[in-house]
Symmetry: none
DNA sequence: GATGAATGAGGTTTCATTCAT
DNA sequence: AATGAATGAAACCTCATTCAT
């Protein structure tokens, strides 16, 4: 974790690895896996092709490392976001805000993330990025627990199963953030967060509870 | 439309074309554009490679024809679904049901459709399937009109802009149908329709109106 | 020879054959053998491809028939031109004029003719148009006889072997006619004939004879 | 120019390039552009196909490089030959001898050269080897200057325009050298040079001047 | 007899991967 | 340890030719 604790050599290698992944990410997100060559990545990362292969067994490996590491960062952040103690509404609001921040800070990765986490990325031969989806499913389970808890505490009305609510919230956030990315002037970032929450909370909050 | 009205030869050609597209669809949806060769498609469709090229100028052409024709069928069905006269709730319910039916009847195409209509499909070089997205956007505009009308008639509370509501509904339906496709035993089809509607309507319906 | 003497059916077939060869000639002379497809020829000649193959066993056959028949017409005309009785100078002048007339009347064929008769046409695999060259060599031999006769009658000085003189005259006529074809405004046709003859005769005519 | 001055790696690359061009030249001159495959060239040059493509963008590029470089060598030699100071007769004699030497030393290239410089090579689609012809025209202009100078100095009689004389000399040399190449026993090399010169000079040299 | 749809061999080209330097 | 030249499998696509209608 702390690079300063590693020998200089090791730190150097980590840096190189990150440079390679950064170059690859930019290219993959622009053109898609199959329209980017290893040569191109090497060129952009300013390494020789052979060096690339010292770090990654093959192209698929490189892609998988890239997607797994990045989406792990995403999922870690999301999980941390919903682990904060507090009211369910606060937690979900925190989650939505965190996701927005992660997306904003990782623009190039977003389309790849959505494609892979939704299982509509056809880059790698046969279900090779299943790990990403598995991690995503796991996160959705945890998100479902938040809804579950809210329902059980009568904070939320049970308009659907907790898991369905989690999936719905997740996908709507994705959709709204994509809107913003593709046409920020039409869909300003500020709208996103509130719109998502309003759609869900306005309806979800139990009437009795709300009428207090 | 009516194949009986065409000369025998023409009907034959149409049949062949459809056979080719069907073979291609199955392969593309399983493995993705770049992991399928023309040779493979020809083999599956039981034609010689040259015959494929009599019908489609090149691989990209074949893919585009496939995606455009199929998604036009989808969009046509969706638009017809929301053109039925009646109460906004009825219209949206009809839309959700129609989408479910289209998905059920076109399983292999769904992943391709979601990838391309969401702009996360990296199959074709530069924005070649933009037409699909354009059609999708147009449909979303029309769906937004339904929400708009509902809001103006005080049928719905304005928890977000009509367009945002349209996007949200659309993406949640997609997500739930994907759930069902990937694990039908965990997420039975019946749940889908009601869950989507409950999430939206339960909250959307204005309280005053609902209290009647 | 006389088409009127043939049954109607036969005459019809000859006409079709000629139409095919004419279409092929135009295309071959514009683009070269390998850049013209049988499909293209059929289209231009307004026949079905199958019909083309009723008349010619394959593409090579068609090309050979075309080149052989056309160059036979050329060689026949050239040989007739040098068979006219008379003074050698008259004969050669007649030859040069005839060649000019043939070229003018068969523009599209000229480049093909020069390429094939000179052995620099790479259209057909291995020396398949040798027949054209053989016919050309035979003609050169006859042309050489004219020089030979002129030399023996002391009409010409023997500045080179008769065969060499024949080759030289032939190639210079070709070169000058090509000049005219490619830039008629710079190299008018009239210049051609006189220039060729002057170069050869002015020098060739024996001084003693000339001094008479 | 001096390969010793280049780094070892560069020298190596130049060697490889030359090996490839040499293999290609041999094949193209034997069978023609369209009857030679890249595979064949790679095989003959003893490289992998991919290596060929490292040196030449595509087949056409390879052919053009080959023809342009070789014919530049030819034209350079020819132009140097006529730049030697001296009597016009000496210059032309020098040119004829030089051309003979170049042809003898570059047998495989000759047919290609004649085809391309005369504009009867149908190898490359649309006028791609025009550069060769342009260079050839430029040379002919310079050769014409030699005749012009000879005429103005009354060394030559003006039996035709200087440019026509240049074209005639050029084409006759070509023709005689082709004769020699195709049947050396019938047309020994020695004959060529003298025959060409005799045909031209015997007649060209002004009588007054000659009578000295 | 004429047609032209269907065929598939074979050509050109790309690019992931290796390995000698 | 880093390099990048060399490799060749495999992709796309064309077009001469056949043969059922």
């Amino acid at each position: 974790m702390n690079p300063l604790s590693l020998p200089r050599r090791e730190r150097e290698k980590l840096r190189q690895r990150e440079d390679m992944l950064a170059a690859a990410l930019e290219l993959f997100s622009q053109k898609g896996y199959h329209n980017v060559s290893m040569h191109e990545i090497a060129l952009k990362a300013e390494f020789a092709i052979g060096t690339l292969y010292k770090f990654f067994r093959n192209k698929e490996d490189l892609y998988k490392a890239l997607v797994l590491e990045q989406s792990d960062r995403f999922h870690d952040a999301f999980e941390r976001a919903i682990e904060t103690p507090g009211d369910e509404v606060e937690i979900l609001r925190h989650y939505v805000r965190t996701k927005g921040e992660m997306f904003r800070a990782n623009l190039p990765f977003i389309r790849l993330y959505i494609a892979e986490s939704r299982g509509v990325g056809y880059n790698i031969k046969a279900g090779l990025t299943d790990e990403v989806r598995k991690r995503h499913y796991e996160f959705l389970e945890r998100l479902a627990l938040v809804f579950d808890s809210g329902i059980r505490r009568n904070r939320f009305r049970k308009v659907a199963s907790p898991y369905q609510l989690a999936v719905a919230l997740d996908t709507v956030v994705n959709a709204f953030l994509l809107l913003w990315i593709e046409a920020p002037e039409l869909h300003p970032y500020q709208d996103t967060e509130n719109a998502v929450l309003d759609i869900f909370f306005e309806g979800l909050i139990a009437r009795d509870f709300a009428q207090e």
